[in-house]
């Protein structure tokens, strides 16, 4: 049994399809002849063309506006499923995707597998791969119920590759009327973003609780600046309010795969490792020789961040 139609949920990000969604769409096009996108956002010809280029034959366009999207979007997708019967729907491990996938799963009574890193299809059906225990073990799961199968995939599990130049058919889907009391977005706050972004930087410098204080995070910023790198953080220091959440790397933060990842004062907890262990080269600076981060580091420096990092910044400055 081959897959006939696979859908990818693609969220708009700053006017264009988000990278995670394009990764899913690329994968959908590899799994089935009929790859189609569910696109959530304002939409534009350029956006639809980008979806077509990544394999979408058809785009179902939904725009939620100020309404909290998850409930009406899940309801609309449930209707589309009735009409079009896809085999599989791929969502990304991100906020709105998770909300929609969760609600849709409950609505359809279909199981959902989240945190997937791979999806494959063979003679014995669809297999979803998950990583557990910080990525040291792989778990394969199979669906036993009826399609459509719902899978939530971690970022950067597949590359986003434009292949096709075709213009997709765009179907505008009206959302069911939602009562504002059922959830509305009153206002959006965006943090200032400067320098390279975590997800696409060639070098990432991350600080953890080992820095000792919020002020000491400046060391990480300075090192990142000297390297043209993006600065990241562990959840421990995000939760402590030292840096904004947008910097968090790990299971519940961003997934990064830079050429070089430098972790300073980071212990290397499982939930941190899953977000960075696929970096090409990992450098760790930690004063505890037993810190788990050394288990994945190509170069581990047993030392004090307050000694090593300032010297490193200085040496880079002199070049």
């Amino acid at each position: 049994m081959a897959l006939s139609a696979v859908w990818a949920f693609v969220e708009e990000s700053e006017g264009a399809p988000g990278t995670l969604g394009l990764e899913l769409l690329t994968k959908a096009a590899q799994l089935a002849d009929r790859a189609e996108a569910i696109y959530l956002g304002t939409g534009s010809d350029d956006a639809f063309a980008a979806l077509g280029a990544h394999g979408a034959k058809k785009v179902f366009h939904l725009d939620a506006g100020e309404v909290l999207p998850s409930a009406p979007v899940a309801a609309a997708i449930a209707e589309l499923i009735e009409q079009h019967r896809p085999d599989l729907i791929l969502f990304g491990q991100s906020y709105t995707d998770r909300d929609v996938a969760g609600r849709l799963s409950a609505r359809l009574g279909s199981s959902v597998v989240s945190n997937a890193v791979d999806v494959s299809h063979g003679d014995d059906g669809l297999t979803v791969t998950n990583e557990i225990f910080g990525g040291t073990q792989l778990v394969s799961t199979r669906f036993t119920g009826d399609a459509p199968y719902l899978v939530v995939v971690r970022p950067k599990s597949f590359p986003a590759q434009p292949t096709d130049e075709s213009t997709p058919e765009v179907v505008t889907v009206d959302l069911p009327q939602a009562d504002p009391s059922a959830g509305r977005i009153v206002e959006s706050h965006a943090e200032e973003r400067e320098g390279p972004q975590l997800e696409d930087a060639a070098v990432v410098v991350t600080g953890g609780r080992g820095l000792g204080s919020a002020e000491a995070y400046q060391l990480i910023e300075d090192l990142a600046k000297a390297l043209g790198a993006a600065s990241g953080a562990t959840r421990a220091i995000v939760d402590s309010g030292w840096v904004p959440y947008a910097k968090q790397v790990g299971q519940t933060g961003k997934t990064v795969k830079p050429d070089v990842y430098i972790a300073a004062g980071v212990s290397g907890a499982m939930q941190h490792l899953v977000g960075m262990k696929d970096s090409k080269i990992i450098v760790a600076i930690n004063k505890d020789p037993e810190a788990p981060i050394f288990g994945v580091a190509d170069l581990g420096v047993v030392g004090d961040v307050h000694k090593v990092v300032p010297k490193l910044i200085e040496a880079l400055g002199q070049r």
Binding site: G102, S105, P289, G300
Partner: protein
């Protein structure tokens, strides 16, 4: 306001976890503890209950064990707990878990239902949204700030860029991130009082929730291992080795 908080008991993360090679299920020691992530939901719930002169009920599904984790949350100040423990729920997926919790929440009644954004051991991260859909209530998710004013719940919902201010009317579900509030430590009196608080233990049949798991783990295998490289002691010039490596990687 009637506040209900979903909390999970999990094997102590300090003791190494493993999967049963035959059943592919998590091997759970009996010394279960409160999922650390759920302390934030409990604290949030206590604050809302106190501000609205309401009550706080805990909901938990899973092996009850010695109920140590539930007592931890009761000791923080929750009024009572409902625990659903049933052999039939072994290996429950997220949707089955959500069905059971939704049925229990409905049975208790609530204005505000609180959950964590993801559990430490399961981290499906979809149970709260599934519960909200089953109960047809708004889900205000990934909250790192929560305010309740009359029947309006207003949160800061984390986004990739910052946060959205989002609001809805009760009854509603809120999923909270670690860091939303600072959880209190149980006092001695809290611990003593917790011993007398009611814990309602239910079976799946008491709730009329559908148990139907549509997914099956077929294999668990070791992932390709990343080899650790060199580890050096900083004697004052370790930074030079880092520079060397950066040069070789051609990023400087």
């Amino acid at each position: 306001m009637q506040v209900v908080v979903c909390v999970k008991q999990i094997p102590d993360p300090a003791s190494p976890s493993k999967l049963d090679p035959d059943t592919h299920l998590m091997v759970r020691p009996n010394d279960q503890v409160l999922d650390d992530t759920d302390r934030y939901g409990v604290e949030m719930g206590l604050q809302v209950a106190a501000a609205t002169e309401g009550t706080l009920t805990l909901l938990s599904m899973g092996p009850a064990g010695s109920l140590q984790g539930i007592r931890q949350a009761l000791a923080m100040g929750a009024d009572k707990a409902v625990v659903i423990d049933d052999e039939a729920l072994k290996g429950a997926d997220a949707l089955t878990t959500a069905r059971v919790l939704a049925a229990a929440a409905q049975r208790e009644g609530f204005d505000l239902l609180i959950a964590g954004t993801e559990s430490t051991d399961g981290y499906s991260g979809v149970v709260p949204q599934q519960i909200a859909e089953l109960l047809d209530v708004p889900a205000l998710t990934y909250a790192n700030h929560v305010e309740v004013e009359g029947s309006t719940v207003r949160i800061h919902r984390q986004t990739d860029r910052g946060y959205d201010l989002v609001e809805a009317s009760t009854p509603a579900l809120v999923s909270v991130t670690a860091g939303v509030v600072e959880p209190r430590y149980p006092t001695f009196k809290g611990i003593m009082d917790a011993k007398k608080k009611p814990i309602d233990q239910l079976a799946a049949a008491d709730l009329d929730a559908e148990i139907d798991v549509d997914q099956q783990v077929v294999e668990v295998s070791p992932a390709p291992e990343r080899q650790a490289g060199e580890k050096i002691e900083d004697g004052g010039d370790a930074h030079l080795r880092i520079v060397e490596l950066l040069e070789r990687a051609k990023v400087i």
